[in-house]
């Protein structure tokens, strides 16, 4: 008769890791598809305001950004704590916006030039005087499609 032996020391089998690459790849693809690279390094800090009637900005290549906020800590010594404007990677004055817009527009394809959208990413504490100046400058440069960058408000 066969004797059923009881092994007192049963060893745990090694964990099968052959499917690990698949899992990692899956995660990788997920992050690859949701990722959107930061457009620039911020020199101003801002918290965009909240709103409910949001429209998504399609076509990244048609969007140009204007950042408005107080300089980040490393630039505070040099530029003070007053609200500043950032275009691309540098601080700018209000009167430089027009030129920037014209330059950016001329670098676009001709059929896209009319579709350019300017997204104003401004801090919610900003005084409207600054924003109004920017708007006037944009009007002068015929950049009439604008978007006030904001986040979804969950409650009033």
């Amino acid at each position: 008769m066969a004797k059923i032996r009881r092994n007192d020391k049963r060893e745990m089998p090694a964990l099968n890791t052959s499917s690990l690459p698949d899992i990692i790849f899956m995660l990788l693809f997920f992050f690859m598809s949701v990722t959107s690279m930061k457009e620039v390094s911020y020199k101003v800090q801002f918290k965009v305001p909240q709103a409910t009637e949001l429209v998504k900005l399609e076509k990244k290549s048609l969007v140009r950004y204007i950042y408005v906020g107080t300089p980040t800590a490393e630039f505070r010594k040099q530029y003070g704590a007053e609200t500043r404007i950032q275009l691309d990677d540098a601080f700018a004055e209000t009167n430089e916006i027009g030129e920037y817009i014209v330059n950016e527009r001329s670098s676009m394809k001709e059929q896209d030039q009319g579709l350019m959208t300017v997204s104003i990413k401004a801090d919610k504490e900003t005084r409207m005087g600054v924003i109004a100046d920017i708007k006037q400058e944009l009007r002068r440069a015929y950049a009439l499609k604008i978007s006030y960058a904001s986040t979804q408000r969950t409650s009033f």
Binding site: I24, K38, K56, G129, S150
Partner: protein, 181 residues
């Protein structure tokens, strides 16, 4: 293999920023040519709704202090003028084509937003947001009434039709110093 994908994974994890680009879309008016005189277009008083925001972010609508939460309802009432109120914008009859047909609407209404230099951006955007929301709600109601679908589900031509019934007319004045010292 797994090492390489781990490396890539970590790279994307670090660079990823989930925030989507969204915002309140607005259209600025075209600039006035410098040689052109600013003409004061005569707007009938009943067609005009003035929303003023002062430096303390308080709202004045039609001469009355108002909370921003009530602005949407107020704007809807103004834009729609359901009961042909004499103090609200004049109703004009127009044919909007099938299936809307001939409808009365407030053709010449204007909502004017005026803000102070010291108004907070968030307060300004709240007002803009509520006004846009009022239009969106009215358009949605209109779409449901005539097309039995939400406004967002309509095709482009139908949306244009609905837009004609509720044309967005938010005008912005140059900022002035209201309620300052």
């Amino acid at each position: 293999m797994a090492d390489i994908s781990f490396l890539l994974l970590i790279f994307f994890l670090v660079t990823t920023s989930m925030d989507v680009n969204q915002g309140l879309a607005r259209r600025l008016p075209a600039p006035v040519p410098p040689d052109q005189k600013v003409e004061n277009t005569d707007i009938n008083k009943r067609n005009l709704m003035v929303v003023k925001i002062n430096s303390a972010n308080q709202l004045m609508v039609q001469g009355q202090l108002l909370d921003v939460k009530q602005l949407r309802a107020k704007a809807k009432e103004f834009i729609k003028n359901e009961n042909d109120d004499a103090t609200l914008p004049k109703l004009v009859e127009e044919d909007f084509g099938e299936p809307i047909g001939v409808v009365k609407y407030t053709k010449d209404h204007v909502i004017s937003v005026q803000n102070d230099v010291d108004t907070q951006y968030q307060a300004y955007l709240d007002v803009q947001n509520e006004l846009v929301a009022a239009y969106n709600e009215l358009r949605d109601e209109c779409a449901r009434q005539y097309f039995h679908k939400g406004y967002a589900e309509l095709d482009e031509d139908q949306q244009k039709q609905v837009q004609k019934v509720y044309p967005q007319k938010i005008s912005e004045a140059e900022p002035k110093n209201y309620g300052g010292e």
